[in-house]
């Protein structure tokens, strides 16, 4: 498979700011600034970055340069380059551009799937089957990893509560269709630690321990890091996060969107969990984003408060 060895890490932090963050704001970040951001995060040791999404540019002009960004990111040694794809056509383009890993999101809430993506579950399954066939037709060393990502898995802003059984069934279906792994996304920031723990165990019981690899958490109600801790305890390997919590909801001041990469890395760093990321360098990446998006608020408790007195990154704290 076309991917990078991460066997030295305890967890894999996947920066999704260039995709999830930028798609959530009106401003369009210049291509050169995106490249500088991605390069700086890779230099700080961030092992994977979701650099964009292969959606039609007219729907999301913020990400119109995704193919160019993927090609650029592929030139950075050691960086795993991920991209989101909404359908088969997006997957074709992502593969052409050279992504190491592609994720196709399926909304567990079918109402959400129809209203947001204009597709029923069966239609999305059809796209996934075609993507699997396409990947299978490639030479083995050119095949990207393919994640089926279950969005609105912990609550839907239209349907409300989402049943665990439904999530488990869809996860099983995605694996049966040939995804390499599945991920759970708390798109609406509704998950709580007990729900997440139960969900992870239930999904793993059906798809196999190693096949539920990723969680995508939001901090909408302040529970993002508590949820991340539970995911860590349940042996989840991949944690999505966004620098500065970029993409925070303007309707909810202080309520960032994705969990903040800096705070997540600080938590793991303090706990002595190996992320491969140099926290000091990561903190400096904020300046690049701040200059490129001067009107966006950057979140983050640790950046605001600074380290505890005497804290040295990379050594754990009080263990």
């Amino acid at each position: 498979m076309n991917s990078i060895d991460h066997s030295g890490l305890d967890v894999l932090i996947s920066e999704v700011g260039p995709r999830d963050g930028l798609q959530s704001i009106q401003a369009i970040m210049p291509t050169e600034a995106k490249k500088a951001w991605i390069k700086a995060e890779a230099d700080a040791g961030v092992p994977e970055i979701e650099v964009g999404s292969f959606v039609p540019p007219k729907l999301m002009p913020q990400l119109a340069d995704t193919a160019e960004i993927v090609a650029y990111a592929r030139t950075i040694p050691g960086l795993q380059v991920a991209a989101l794809v909404p359908n088969f056509r997006g997957a074709e383009n992502a593969i052409k551009a050279g992504a190491h890993k592609i994720s196709l999101p399926l909304s567990v809430s079918e109402t959400h799937s129809q209203r947001n993506l204009n597709r029923t579950h069966e239609q999305v399954f059809g796209e996934i089957a075609k993507v699997v066939a396409l990947i299978g037709s490639l030479p083995e060393d050119q095949r990207p990893g393919f994640e089926g990502s279950l969005s609105t898995a912990f609550g839907c802003s239209i349907e409300g509560v989402v049943k665990q059984d439904k999530v488990v069934d869809i996860a099983a279906r995605l694996m049966a269709l040939g995804c390499d792994e599945v991920g759970l996304s708390d798109t609406t920031g509704s998950a709580n630690p007990a729900q997440l723990r139960n969900m992870i165990r239930a999904v793993k019981a059906v798809v196999g321990d190693g096949n539920l690899a990723a969680v995508h958490l939001h901090n909408t109600r302040g529970l993002g890091l508590a949820n991340a801790l539970v995911a860590l305890e349940e042996n989840i390997f991949t944690f999505d996060a966004s620098l500065g919590g970029l993409g925070g909801c303007p309707a909810a001041p202080g309520a960032s969107g994705n969990i903040v990469t800096e705070d997540l890395v600080f938590m793991f760093d303090a706990m002595g969990i190996k992320t491969g990321i140099e926290l000091d360098k990561l903190m400096q990446v904020r300046e690049i984003v701040r200059k490129a998006l001067p009107n966006e608020e950057l979140y983050g408790f640790t950046p605001d408060a600074g380290y505890p007195k005497g804290y040295a990154a990379g050594k754990g704290w009080g263990l």
Copy 2:
């Protein structure tokens, strides 16, 4: 002992806003507003409130009415009334006023103890011994609970890292002196989940499982609820929290001081953990505080974002 039965609760949330929140801001809340706040929280089911501190009024004019507030709070049925005392004299006054529970903080960092309280550890131990003797001289049904509270237990803003051994030794000494229980305070918001878990286990191993009952967490670096989750897993019963995170550090925008009561209760409520608190009513208490302190920022992710669609407080979520 002069206390309330909490056997129906999974955890005891102790609102410390009227003490820790109000002592951290310049504005002085009028006595009547404090009473309205305390009454409204008690009506929402908050089982314990730390209503003030028996410090000299010239040092902390914000809390000069603590005796009156304690006496008032004692008239509210079912509410456990707690107060902070810095020394023997404060304890005398707290007992005279009728507090159910008193806490005396000892800074684990001796530098901090000397600089902030002007007392060495031995001097604080001396005060504690006198308080224990005073309590022992009272009729049994008039004795308040007495907590020895270890502040700066996870990091000191002067000394830096604080060694676990030192915390354990002081906790053992406080129990030997006759405290009913000890508590761990992350005064500087430096704790991480791994450090906290290790610390709780180490202290419990020495003082006995039930004698480490309380944690006092801050959200300075965004890890407050992750730390609370660890404390829950380690069978801590009492969780301090402050409505609206009142007392947040003005130097760190968004970095609230104490963990926010509303967010903590939302997390437990969603998890199906019994707190005895009606979340809907708790949310409404913010209006009382907002009107009484119009220039203070109130924090809280859940209050800002609202409940998840379809959420009904008191029933858990997605379990």
